[in-house]
């Protein structure tokens, strides 16, 4: 199977729903605060009471245009809203106001970096505005309840071209998209609160083929981890199906978090005919050159611009820059640290590895002051502590923010750079490990690292590994 699967490639397009951070809903003046008591943030308009009418919140248009500008889209001068008709209890009007054939933004792209040095251009087909539906709360024995708080919360849907070829690329695209949106401040993109949700369209084809296969859609995936798992499972499922001569059915599939598998939900032939038509209650949306100019001025420095700057000014790798710039707060943190240390690359590497590992998903608050972080980078950069001590100290600062210079002193964690002080430990190891010594002499140079490790252990991790290696080489030869 492993070899067969290598003959195939996956073709992925993503539809991302992002909740806009407006104070009020898209067609009424109800607040949009997350987590309020059910049905406390709704009114006759968002509950679709008879006779009520929608009035478009201008901020929604502004935010969607900002999203379009930040993702290199063309902005429509003339746009309109359409009704998507279907019955569901969480949809009070039995139609969703969305945009069909004249979306606000079209033909954009973003650049991603999926691993080291694999840059890629991902096309954005369109961005349109729409209203969210309510939430159904199923209660055992008591039936189903409807919470209308979310009805009419403004969303943008960002549809990508089918340019994505792996789960890593999908992740990189989503992280980049999220970064861009976070920078613009139009959404907080919290996947766990549903303010960023993703549908995955996936098909497979033999490598080298031009035509697309039949695609399936996986809806409402709400974490990067699930997206990766769903893609990997679905890719394998489709390849197996094709290999065994089965046809892929165009359908919507549900990803089960517990089993890690996808299950058929709805076939295309059962799909709704949404009977889209222009909403006669709403006037067309016109975007003047003046308005567009004003919105362009509101686009901040975006991740890619910062990324280029980090590579050029601080000598970071492109990949490390991509990681650090993926969240505005983290990039801001990095820039504050950089102003206080002579070792920006080292600071970057600490943030990219240790800090990112310690931060919970979606969190951006680093509990270490930029002063103390800069001091830590300085200590490591000046070889006053070695890299493993550095990580240890960082973890200690994470628990309790304090001056790392004092901490290193107090705990005696300073690096031993004195060659003579280290010689004693090196001699001990050479004496104790004749087998390693003879292996080394036979040409197995890799054992040297093991010996360095032994010396480090004797110094409680404080020895300078470079000097230790030098010493060992001298002693053996």
């Amino acid at each position: 199977m492993a070899s067969t699967i290598n003959n195939y490639e996956m073709v992925i397009g993503l539809e991302v729903h992002v909740e806009l951070k407006t104070a009020t809903k898209i067609f009424c003046s109800c607040p949009t605060t997350f987590g309020a008591e059910p049905n406390t943030q709704c009114c006759p308009v968002c509950m679709g009471m008879p006779g009520t009418l929608p009035v478009l919140n201008e901020q929604v248009v502004n935010y969607a245009v900002i999203a379009g500008l930040a993702t290199n889209c063309q902005i429509a001068h003339f746009s309109k809203e359409d009704r998507k008709n279907y019955f569901y209890p969480d949809l009070p009007k039995a139609y969703q106001i969305s945009q069909y054939d004249l979306p606000l933004c079209q033909n954009g792209y973003i650049d991603i970096e999926a691993g080291n040095d694999t840059k890629k251009h991902i096309g954005i087909t369109r961005i349109h505005i729409e209203e969210d539906a309510g939430k159904l709360v199923h209660s055992d024995g008591k039936g189903t309840f409807i919470d209308c708080n979310r009805c009419g919360v403004p969303l943008i849907e960002i549809v990508s071209e089918p340019d994505i070829r792996s789960a890593e690329e999908a992740g990189a695209y989503l992280r980049k998209l999220r970064a861009i949106i976070l920078y613009t401040g139009i959404s907080d993109c919290k996947m766990n609160e549903g303010s960023m949700r993703c549908d995955v369209n996936l098909s497979v084809r033999k490598k080298g083929e031009k035509a697309f296969g039949t695609r399936t859609e996986m809806k409402n995936l709400n974490s990067f981890q699930f997206i990766t798992k769903a893609i990997e499972y679905e890719f394998q499922r489709q390849v197996e199906a094709v290999e065994s001569g089965e046809a892929i059915v165009q359908e919507t599939r549900r990803f089960d978090q517990n089993t890690g598998k996808t299950y058929s939900m709805r076939r295309k032939e059962d799909a709704n005919d949404y009977r889209y038509f222009p909403d006669p209650d709403l006037a067309p949306i016109r975007i003047s050159a003046e308005m567009l100019q004003g919105l362009k001025a509101r686009i901040p420095v975006l991740p890619d611009q910062r990324k280029r700057e980090y590579v050029e000014r601080f000598g970071l790798t492109s990949y490390a820059s991509e990681q650090i710039t993926s969240q505005k707060e983290i990039a801001d943190y990095f820039e504050a640290v950089v102003r206080k240390t002579d070792y920006p690359a080292l600071a970057a590497s600490l943030i990219q590895t240790e800090v990112m590992r310690l931060l919970p998903q979606d969190a951006v608050d680093i509990p270490i002051s930029t002063d103390n972080f800069a001091r830590l980078a300085q200590l490591a950069g000046e070889d006053r502590i070695n890299s493993s001590t550095c990580k240890k100290v960082l973890n200690m600062l994470w628990e309790k923010d304090q001056d790392p210079v004092e901490l290193v002193q107090k705990e005696g964690l300073g690096q031993i750079n004195d060659k003579e002080a280290l010689r004693e430990y090196a001699v001990q190891v050479v004496t104790e490990q004749p087998k390693l010594v003879s292996d080394f002499k036979k040409g197995k140079t890799a054992v040297l690292q093991a010996m360095v490790g032994q010396v480090m252990k004797k110094t409680s991790g404080k020895g300078n590994p470079v000097i230790i290696q030098e010493l060992l080489t001298e002693l053996i030869q």
Partner: protein, 491 residues
């Protein structure tokens, strides 16, 4: 007083109230008596709000006694079509679906009426969800034509027209999607105005076809119509399709006459299918206008023949979506004995809607569905553009268009219920006006040989209601003089 209070026009009543020769309480009591006497036969009202009406009247009298200067409509009793939301008062759309629906909000027009201290007498019968031409599609009752109770009052604002004709309300509000104010006004012999689309806020009007619906007044005479329209006009931030109207007093130029006016008589409106009585009455009116100093020319509006199909496509499409919210989940009727959500929808909508409403929902769903959209809905929108262009070309040269309202006068109850298509054909003269969004007024212009009222339709440029009122008023005055001289001649 020689004349009955309920026989007076709004402007007559208003004068007497302002002079304090009459109290609003007296007026309201007279109207309640009239309703009690007439409505068992006419059946115009679905809900009568006698208690709140008396309270409102007392309040108006108190304010007046305190020396407050009140607007002309203060203390005047009005009836409201039952698709206009009234806070705390059942608003049923004459449907089983909304039999017990009590809106927690007022329509914008109701707020306007309240600001004018109008007294609300109750909610008026109509065709269910405003779909129909006879008011026979009401779930609750069949309204009779006060001019001949064997006949229908027209529709869908049949309750509104009948209430005004039977003196059960000094004026009424109706709604007009394809003729629903003008046709019943002509059947009952009253004045009905459908203003330019966007003039009166639709907020709180339970939508039939959003791009066509307008609220307007039904009144005893032209001046009353101008007065009421002035009170309910105005841009509303809650209705994105409402616009500021350049005119806020429609009465100021009403007496200026029609001398020098150019009137267009579209020949397509006088071809076969129209009753000879109606044709003669409207042509006589045209001659009357010539006598009053206007010039009348025959014109052609070739696109009108496509208006009816375009109207039924557009209005049904919008209705199918607008009425989807009545699903038994949140408010209104809910069927019993369903097993799952799909059955809840199916049973509720099957039981809650009447035949005509279901017919339009099916028609509308069909024309919007995949594969048919371009052939029907898109085509209908193109026809819409053609009609607008045709009318604009006429308005480049003419001040207004004169035509019949309906090809027939009021017919007997039950006469056309078996043949919806024939019923739809009755809208042929009124629907193009809604499609174009321009204003149009229906005014009595004579009687048929059976003694039933005949109405004529004046169609104007967008936002030029003032011209229509001026022309209608001139005609109304000349008719009064004719009647007076006839009477004088006979005696």
């Amino acid at each position: 007083m020689s004349e009955k209070i309920t026989g007076l026009t709004v402007s007559q009543l208003s004068r007497l109230l302002q002079k304090k020769s009459l109290s609003s309480a007296e007026v309201v009591d007279s109207y309640l008596e009239q309703i009690e006497a007439c409505d068992p036969e006419i059946q115009a009202y679905i809900t009568i709000t006698a208690e709140t009406a008396r309270k409102q009247a007392a309040r108006v009298d108190r304010l007046r006694a305190e020396g407050l200067e009140l607007p002309p409509l203060a203390g005047i009793p009005a009836g409201i079509k039952d698709n206009i939301c009234t806070r705390g008062i059942n608003t049923t759309c004459a449907s089983k679906m909304l039999e017990n629906f009590v809106p927690p909000y007022d329509a914008s027009v109701m707020e306007k009426l309240e600001a004018n201290h109008v007294v609300v007498m109750g909610k008026l019968n109509m065709d269910e969800f405003a779909m129909g031409s006879t008011t026979e599609n009401s779930h609750f009752k069949k309204t009779r034509n006060p001019r001949n109770p064997a006949c229908v009052p027209g529709g869908s604002s049949g309750g509104s027209a009948a209430a005004v004709a039977a003196d059960e309300a000094a004026f009424a509000l109706g709604s007009d999607t394809g003729g629903s104010i003008r046709q019943p006004a002509s059947f009952c012999g009253v004045v009905g105005m459908k203003p330019t689309y966007g003039t009166v806020s639709r907020y709180g009007l339970i939508a039939f076809a959003s791009s066509l619906d307008q609220i307007g007044p039904l009144t005893k005479d032209v001046r009353d119509s101008a007065l009421v329209l002035g009170a309910i006009t105005g841009q509303d931030h809650r209705d994105s399709t409402s616009v500021p109207h350049p005119v806020n007093d429609f009465t100021s130029e009403i007496e200026k006459g029609v001398e020098g006016f150019r009137i267009a008589l579209p020949k397509e409106y006088f071809s076969e299918g129209i009753s000879p009585d109606i044709k003669n009455a409207v042509l006589n009116a045209a001659m009357q206008y010539e006598k009053l100093g206007a010039q009348v020319d025959e014109v052609s509006l070739p696109s009108l023949r496509y208006a009816l199909p375009a109207y039924y496509v557009i209005s049904s499409a919008e209705a199918s979506s607008n009425l989807a919210r009545f699903d038994g989940v949140k408010y209104g009727y809910r069927a019993e004995g369903y097993e799952d959500i799909d059955e809840l929808y199916r049973m509720t909508r099957s039981e809650g809607f009447g035949k005509e409403v279901k017919r339009r929902i099916m028609l509308g769903s069909f024309v919007l569905s995949a594969g048919y959209y371009d052939a029907y809905y898109k085509k209908a929108l193109q026809v819409r553009t053609l009609i607008v262009n045709d009318l604009n070309a006429v308005f480049d040269k003419y001040d207004f268009i004169l035509s019949p309202v309906s090809p027939t006068t009021a017919y007997k109850l039950g006469e056309k219920t078996g043949n919806p298509l024939e019923m739809y054909l009755g809208d042929i003269f009124t629907v193009p006006i809604n499609i174009a969004g321009v204003p149009s007024l229906s005014i009595p212009c004579g009687e048929s040989t059976e003694g039933l009222p005949i109405g004529m339709q004046l169609v104007g440029k967008a936002f030029d209601e003032a011209t229509l009122y001026r022309a209608a008023y001139a005609f109304e005055q000349s008719m009064k003089e004719c009647t007076a001289s006839e009477k004088g001649g006979r005696s």
